[in-house]
Symmetry: C2
Subunit: 371 residues, 2 copies
DNA sequence: CAACCGGATCTAAGCGCATTGATTGAGGCG
DNA sequence: CGCCTCAATCAATGCGCTTAGATCCGGTTG
């Protein structure tokens, strides 16, 4: 690019000072109309686009919010096999057996969308970064340095870094706060309550009495869900496990775990999973072993991702108001831009039970008006 | 926030000059280890996070790419009815009749995802903005001022603005270039070719001879698709219409249009639509009028969005390599960051025919190995 | 006619960092 | 023991913009 024009160039071409050029754009009413026109014309001729960096520096705020998300590329390789396959050109024109939908609109993506929409709606720009625990430190600081407020997904940024950043700008974490209090704001959903309702449904409606909880308890959200699960069992006078059947984050573990249960003849009546992706992995594993879902074993998830309605059987789950979570995050940040030490909040949003096929419910079409 | 610390604060606490602080972070090898440690410790104590604006200003580049997208909120109201309904809390726990999936992972979202992944992969931050023709002018300039390269979706930014921005930073438009040459780079797909293949399939495999093309020709992409459609008809010695049955962008128009055809008894054997969303609207309209798809009329789309596999009947379409388009955009921008006047490119990517139910093809499960 | 006033414009001082060229000092060499 | 070299550090400048305060000027007011 041939050296982009600056206020100085515009000013000299228009025959005014740089201050006037700046005013012409930021406070047009302060500048006489004729001069303003001249300035705009000069800017047009030169192709002037003001530098965001310079503006941000001078004003002390950037007018942008940041969101730090997962980087899918950093996930274990086997998780993104479908993606790789997709890039294979010679497979063009094949039947659509790709399973990319299992990876794309995930929980984070829908939350992110809400964040975007709300930012745009309020005239803010949005800076997005991605990474995982390891990569993040530098990357997240990089982003934090360019925005007026930051939202992060759990497990993307070490708490220490979060604390440091929150001394500079407001920060909100999109998860249940960990038990030992948190240094930042939070947007949560009714994790425990939602899972309790779902479990109750399995017990009351379907009469299941032997349920397993599957999920890597890597976030406070999953933990809260496990507690909701346990609470429902206790309320029904069923034995509640001390710990869930942990699956770690490797999908293979789910396969091993289930084949163990199958071989030992101790398959439960239902698997209650901490998240939708885990539930989908469980369904896959069961299918591969010839175990029918839901007639032989029920499976449920938690999230409400798109893939849950695409797979067969469709997934019974608890839907989080993902888009709205993103919106709330923006709103929390905005409220805190001005006054520094507004108290931290934890805004909890309602969830919604979504009954589909995988729990044993048949498909109904309630949209048909009863005659 | 209590006034965030700067290099000056860190420098004085560590007892060095600001230059050394800067070096400690940017070129660690230039600083003796002991001093570096002292500096990092001081930075820790103060909670120092370098200002992106200042850095950007000083270095002359920001290390971020921009993407300018549609703002769904700016769409006609009736298009987002499902969204509104979703926010209604009292509807919690209802059966999942919401149709949000019709709006979310659309074409743009998947392209955007590719853009994000590629940026992160290369260690770049990403700034996203949204708007439509009207709102954009200022917003897009705002973003253009903060990034080193910009990608835009068609119809989001007036060409004049695009030209101006491209004098400052490299720009790539995610669409077929318009016939009269373009001032920016492009990432395209085989629009015409893909549509030709699809139409051929309808003619050859299903024997349809009376097809209508439906689509608002608001982008060069849609135009190219129409040309592909016409080409296939001509090749089969079928009469090709001069113009498509335009639907404008108001879904109601599709309803009117189809009810007209129905009332006059001139329903074709198939509707070939310019995009998936339009095809879904057509299917909806037909269903509402009691016309079965595909037994009575076939319908096809173009895009490959997720909703196409969720709806009944599932949508036959042409799938664009959306994620890859985003990736290519990043790659094009990056190649042009250094050398200013590298020639403009138009990188065309392959598409893929996806045969599902709505064209009359039955569901096959090719993954089953033949015995 | 002088003092005054308000609108339009300008001068000048940063904003926080990167970076060039200068400075310092310790070790190497003859 | 003096001179040179090189590594480590520093002083100073500029990046492009915003904005408080100064200035200028034509028009008012008494």
């Amino acid at each position: 690019m041939p050296k982009s024009p600056t206020v100085y160039d515009v000013a000299s071409l228009a025959g005014v000072s740089i201050a006037t050029v700046s005013f012409a754009f930021r406070q047009p009413e302060r500048v006489r109309e004729s001069t303003r026109d001249a300035i705009i014309r000069a800017a047009d001729v030169l192709g002037y686009v003001p530098s965001g960096s310079a503006r941000g520096l001078a004003r002390g705020r950037t007018g942008a919010l940041g969101l730090f998300s997962f980087d899918y590329l950093a996930e274990p390789a086997d998780r993104r096999k479908p993606l790789t396959a997709l890039n294979d050109d010679e497979e063009s024109l094949r039947f659509d057996l790709n399973e990319e939908f299992r990876l794309f609109p995930l929980y984070v993506d829908e939350v992110q969308r809400g964040f975007e929409l709300e930012c745009w709606h309020r005239g803010l720009a949005l800076m997005i970064g991605g990474g995982n625990r390891s990569s993040s430190e530098a990357v997240v600081a990089d982003i934090a340095g360019r925005v007026d407020g930051l939202a992060v997904f759990p497990r993307t940024v070490p708490e220490e870094t979060l604390r440091r950043i929150s001394r500079r700008i407001p920060v909100v974490e999109l998860s249940e706060p960990s038990q030992n209090g948190s240094v930042v704001n939070h947007v949560t959903v009714q994790n425990a309550e939602g899972m309790r309702l779902l479990t109750e449904h399995l017990i009351a409606t379907h009469g299941y009495r032997n349920l397993h909880f599957i999920g890597a308890l890597v976030t406070s959200d999953s933990e809260a869900r496990f507690e909701g699960f346990s609470a429902a069992l206790k309320a029904a006078n069923l034995p509640a496990p001390q710990r869930p059947t942990v699956s770690s984050e490797n999908p293979d573990h789910i396969v091993w775990l289930i084949s163990d249960l199958l071989n030992s003849g101790s398959l439960p009546q239902g698997f209650v999973c901490a998240t939708d992706p885990e539930a989908l992995d469980v369904i896959d594993a069961l299918s591969d072993m010839g175990v029918d879902v839901p007639s032989r074993v029920a499976v449920t998830g938690f999230d409400g991702i798109a893939a849950g309605r695409i797979v067969k059987p469709s997934l019974t789950t608890v839907r989080q108001p993902m888009e709205r979570m993103g919106r709330e995050a923006v709103s929390i940040l905005l409220e805190r831009l001005g006054d520094a030490d507004k108290p931290r909040v934890n805004r909890q949003l309602p969830v919604q039970l979504v009954l589909r096929e995988s729990c044993g419910c048949s498909i109904r079409r309630p949209s048909q008006a009863p005659a």
